[in-house]
């Protein structure tokens, strides 16, 4: 039997016992008060257990967010060689112009 199932079964059994007292027409007010407090304690214990589980998942989620952010950062949408080629084009064009000027001066 899984842990979650066992908790659920224990909760169901406890709730039923509490309801037997609270819904009874014979139970004394003192007995009912104890049952009401037990109901509150039982509910709170399980709610806090669930809250801790959520907080545990949140910690895992935080780590996953960092991992996914790293994947995004590693993606190269622009081609890095394109920038080099574009810079090279500027240099070659400038070299051609200089060469042309030089040639004109000589002639």
């Amino acid at each position: 039997m899984s842990n979650a199932k066992s908790i659920k079964d224990t909760y169901d059994d406890s709730l039923l016992e509490i309801q037997k007292v609270l819904f009874s027409q014979e139970a004394t007010p003192e007995k009912k008060e104890v049952a009401r407090q037990s109901l509150k304690d039982l509910t709170t214990a399980l709610l806090l257990h669930n809250l801790h589980t959520i907080e545990g998942r949140t910690a895992i989620l935080s780590a996953l967010i960092v991992e996914l952010q790293e994947v995004i950062n590693s993606v190269q949408i622009e081609n890095p060689l394109n920038k080099i080629a574009a810079d090279l084009t500027v240099v070659i064009t400038r070299a051609k112009d200089l060469f042309k000027e030089e040639k004109e001066q000589i002639s």
Partner: protein, 358 residues
């Protein structure tokens, strides 16, 4: 020889599978619908966490033996109305997934392909005539085309890598969302069980008082202007139907109203007390039913929301597995829009039930 090589290379690149844009678009549509609906869920989720934390604070307060009308220790500095950290992290996860999807889209759009083509053309133009070098126009065009195809191949590789690395992380995030959806439902069930039990207790206590009141009196005479006890009994039985399946109640129902031939006379005061008592019982039964309606609407809403998550997961899996042929995903797009509508409809039901339960 060089030209043959270039043509062969071009042919090889052209024949490779492209980015599965249709699968990507369907996954994005599905995720965007899920993301848009998530705000509603996260508001509820945060509200329930607040109830739990309030309950925890209440319990701590009960344990405190010495009266102290101020915090026992300095509270954490938190701006008023700050979002619960669990909710904040779930929102952040959705934002990062959106950003990741935008990155995939940018790769699929391939804007850099045109840029690379232009750079290649610019470079061959610049080289043309340099130191006597002559590049024929068809060769220059072919160079630009090959450069573009190489860029297309790079983008495709980048896309596949990003998908292979990112999809498993997103799937794990989705598992956490799924688990939180289930826990959110369980938390609400715990609160509802407690409220329901306390309401039924109140009803039974009121019914017991009512029975005692009737038992202390003689039945009203037929010519009196009072309602007959049998009529009251019938009304009470009908009012109590919604709680008649509860533990203990199912064995005791219907609760008999028995007069006492040796009791006091039936007076207008008894009559009005009886009416007030039955009205109180009815009001409590309505709150009980509203609480049940709220949880049933929540169950439907969360099932639809979880359905949206499952569909998004399914679309992501198909995108990851997409090969040369685009997967058939049109039904998912329509299905998820239907689920989004269902979530909204159920949320309206929850709000109506919440108002009725007050």
């Amino acid at each position: 020889m060089k030209q043959i090589l270039i043509v062969c290379l071009s042919f090889f690149i052209f024949s490779c599978a492209g980015i599965p844009t249709e699968a990507l678009n369907t996954y994005k549509t599905s995720f965007n619908s899920f993301n848009a609906t998530s705000d509603e869920f996260l508001v509820q989720f945060g509200q329930t966490i607040k109830w739990i934390k309030d309950r925890e604070a209440e319990q701590q307060g009960r344990k405190q033996r010495v009266y102290q009308p101020y915090p026992k220790a300095l509270p954490d500095s938190k701006p008023v109305g700050a979002i619960d950290p669990n909710v904040a992290e779930m929102r952040r996860a959705l934002q990062v997934i959106s950003k990741y999807n935008d990155t995939l889209t940018a790769l699929a759009e391939g804007k850099s392909i045109e840029a690379v083509g232009n750079t290649a053309s610019g470079l061959t133009n610049a080289l043309n005539g340099l130191a006597g070098l002559t590049i024929a126009a068809p060769v220059a065009n072919l160079v630009a085309t090959v450069a573009q195809e190489l860029e297309r191949a790079r983008l495709r590789e980048e896309f596949r890598n990003a998908l292979a690395k990112g999809a498993p992380i997103i799937n794990q995030m989705f598992v956490i969302f799924e688990e939180n959806i289930k826990t959110h439902y369980n938390n609400n069930v715990l609160f509802a069980n407690e409220r329901r039990t306390l309401i039924v207790e109140e009803i039974i206590d009121e019914v017991t008082l009512l029975q005692k009141l009737v038992k202390a009196h003689k039945a009203p005479a037929p010519d009196d202007k009072f309602k007959e006890v049998s009529g009251r009994q019938k009304a009470l039985n009908n009012i109590l139907v919604p709680i008649s399946k509860e533990a203990v109640v199912k064995d005791a129902y219907p609760y008999p109203l028995q007069t006492n031939s040796t009791g006091h006379d039936w007076t207008p005061s008894v009559e009005s007390n009886l009416t007030a008592s039955i009205e109180q019982i009815q009001q409590n039964v309505e709150s009980y039913s509203a609480e049940i309606d709220r949880i049933n609407a929540l169950a439907k809403s969360l099932t639809a929301y979880k359905g949206m998550l499952d569909t998004t997961k399914n679309c992501l899996d198909k995108l990851l597995a997409a090969g040369e042929e685009a997967p058939q995903l049109l039904w998912q797009a329509e299905y998820i829009l239907g689920l989004a509508f269902q979530v909204k409809q159920n949320l309206a039901e929850i709000r109506r039930a919440e108002i009725a339960a007050r």
